[in-house]
Symmetry: none
């Protein structure tokens, strides 16, 4: 799941940008560090060389030591956290200490803070004053969403620090208002990174990687595989002067991949199996219903999570009990007795009856054993039967045995993926 | 949200644990680093001194350099990422290089990988073999959920590395099965952190925090609030010699909270609204069905995600279209015409008819506008009607208008929470 950025990563002496997240709550695992991810994405857009991230607690000596370390190997440091009014907010002080600098008060900032707080009618509190102290030659980053400003400071030649609060909404507002343009002007070489992601279903990450060994070694654009549960993605990233040039670099690689993997590629970027399927059914003016047993509503839910799904999805019967398989879907009791509720015969009858009863063009039925209990030697946990019924008496039956390492939710999710991808492939083969 | 851990954080010479997350996708901002947060939480539970986290890309030389750096200041390093089969998976190699060690093949691991993959009937592929190479004296961490094992390796005296894949489900399974006990035995100082989490529904985070100002200032145990969508948690954490002592520290705080918030607290630790509700219905030997419209299967899915739900949950009708509301749930056409599908009248009829038709003790119906389109001035996006029907002609009708800042999925999720919590409260008031 990696990107080869040899043109920038292979020279260990090349200086770059680092991110430092400050806060004991991060080390305790109380919160997820979404700030680092957001800033990383912004740095990518700016085409900057970003090699390393660190996280440290609210301890002045440790922060100072780490800042010194970073100043010896990088040009630009972005910090988040520790700018607030509480005794644990130590970032500005600790940074100043790293370079033996003094902090002095900016009086106009205190006036601004007082103004901001009377606006939001909070009580004034002297500890807030701390937020007005900065090194003498630091430039202030205005905080349009809170009281704690940040700074842009070059304590030694060739090393600049930008500080931001840890509150994501404040950090992002300050980044957009001030930092983005400052960094673009002073640190970007004019190039951007631009990405396109191709999404695969029905094929494993290692099979994809092996077939495109050559592409994975490209330098611009780079090609990187990722895998989620039941889904593989290839991200193609180009470094170029602008989006147009980047798209031109990406296009031949994308064409080659589409040629090699054709039907395995279901979409790009924000597409999901559900959204692609809905789009196709809207185009064909065909409707869809489900009869769910072991997936228990997850198949319906994955379709109805997409805006506009009501144009093609009419509804489902979730017949979790055998009683409801009989009463709602008219599955004969003796069919269940003879083959079991988890069988090709019952899944097929569920699909055919759901299509008829719910008056739809297509139906998918699913019956299986999601576990953890309910399995036996003949029918183990992970056994799933899927049946797809469509126009002109179309029937496709699928049997899957998911690995015994999979838990209940994974078996449900993987089953749903197979349902959606199988219908997608059937529609492709029956293009209207 | 800071915790004062001065007893461990103030000595900058004290050695400790570090986490290193490896993957260029993290530096590019493609994914959020949830692994570091999860491991941090686990290290807290083990009472370990954890001072620093780093993130680095898939570059062998940079990884080696950083590992050397960490080995000079820490006792224990946890790495995630870079154990897979692709050429960019470099972690084991890079770590070995840091200490000039050779990698050699463990043949039994290759047999295991082949076994695992034939189970899920994927094609075998030689690049997978890379995952069988480790330093000679490394101990293997079995991966019960995937093909890439990790290792426990002490390359130099006083410095141990544990490696994990980046896939969260695999990393967590390996941690629980092997790493947790290994670290506890070899690195814990005898004190542990032990936590109990109380879970709230139907009350906001700021209301909870305001009422327990005093408790939030406690030092042992500490009390920390968290909020998810529609759910508030209070985590009570004690540091003590053992679990028994920790529980004794936690108990009076928990009692005070249970006293203050009583019915708002629905459970503890791993409880969810669904699991609590299922447990209660099993106790009462009562069954449950749903008639879902705007939630589109999410209510059913949240119940069937819980093992054992089939003991009480019989099934649902997802009547997404008005046509199916009529044909499957016998909602009169003129009722829909008169009041609209999103109305108290239709929701109530859906609940009553579902209960009867699906032959259940309880039923919940839900009809609303999840958006982004379909709303108007009278019936805006976010308007949801819920109706609960139970024994002895019990009916509860609920109207909710969720904020216009909520998106489709949030409205669906919040609606599901209200359904589950409302039935929970009804059952509480009708204790058997």
């Amino acid at each position: 799941m990696k990107v080869n950025l040899n043109h920038q990563l292979n020279d260990p002496n090349c200086k770059g940008v680092e991110i430092l997240s400050i806060g004991t709550e991060l080390l305790l695992g109380n919160i997820v560090n979404t700030n680092a991810q957001w800033i990383s994405e912004e740095l990518s857009l700016l085409g900057l060389n970003h090699f390393r991230q660190s996280t440290i607690g609210d301890n002045s000596r440790r922060i100072s030591k780490l800042i010194n370390e970073i100043s010896s190997r990088s040009n630009l440091l972005i910090t988040t956290g520790g700018l607030g009014p509480t005794p644990d907010d130590l970032t500005t002080e600790a940074i100043a200490k790293s370079f033996n600098a003094e902090l002095s008060e900016r009086e106009y900032l205190w006036e601004e803070i007082k103004k901001k707080l009377s606006l939001s009618s909070t009580n004034l509190n002297s500890s807030l004053k701390k937020q007005c102290f900065f090194p003498k030659n630091a430039q202030i980053i205005n905080n349009p969403r809170g009281t704690a400003p940040g700074m842009i400071w070059e304590p030694i030649k060739g090393f600049t620090i930008l500080t931001f609060p840890g509150v994501p909404s404040e950090m992002k507002a300050m980044w957009k208002e001030t930092a983005f343009n400052y960094i673009k002007k002073n640190f970007s070489d004019g190039n951007i990174f631009f990405s396109n992601t191709l999404k695969f279903s029905g094929i494993g990450e290692s099979t994809v990687s092996e077939k495109i060994d050559k592409l994975l070694k490209l330098e611009n654009p780079t090609v990187a595989p990722y895998a989620n549960l039941g889904e593989v993605k290839l991200r193609i990233t180009a470094r170029a002067k602008n989006e147009f040039e980047a798209r031109n670099l990406i296009k031949p690689v994308k064409d080659e991949l589409r040629n090699e993997f054709s039907k395995f590629i279901f979409g790009e970027n924000n597409d999901s199996l559900s959204s692609v399927l809905i789009k196709e059914l809207i185009k064909r003016k065909e409707s869809l219903v489900f009869a769910e047993s072991c997936s228990g509503g997850l198949l319906s839910s994955s379709i109805t999570s997409i805006p506009g799904s009501s144009q093609v999805f009419k509804g489902s019967i979730i017949s979790y009990s055998n009683e409801l398989k009989q009463s709602l879907l008219n599955i004969p009791e003796n069919l269940i007795k003879k083959f079991g509720a988890v069988s090709e015969e019952v899944a097929e009858a569920m699909a055919i009856n759901a299509k008829e009863k719910l008056n739809s063009d297509w139906s998918i039925a699913i019956s299986g054993i999601a576990g953890p209990s309910g399995g036996n030697k003949e029918k183990p946990v992970g056994l799933v039967y899927i049946s797809i019924s469509g126009p002109n008496d179309h029937i496709t039956n699928i049997k899957k045995i998911f690995s015994s390492t999979r838990n209940r939710l994974e078996i449900q999710r993987l089953s749903v993926n197979v349902c959606l991808n199988s219908l997608r492939l059937i529609l492709l083969s029956k293009s209207k």
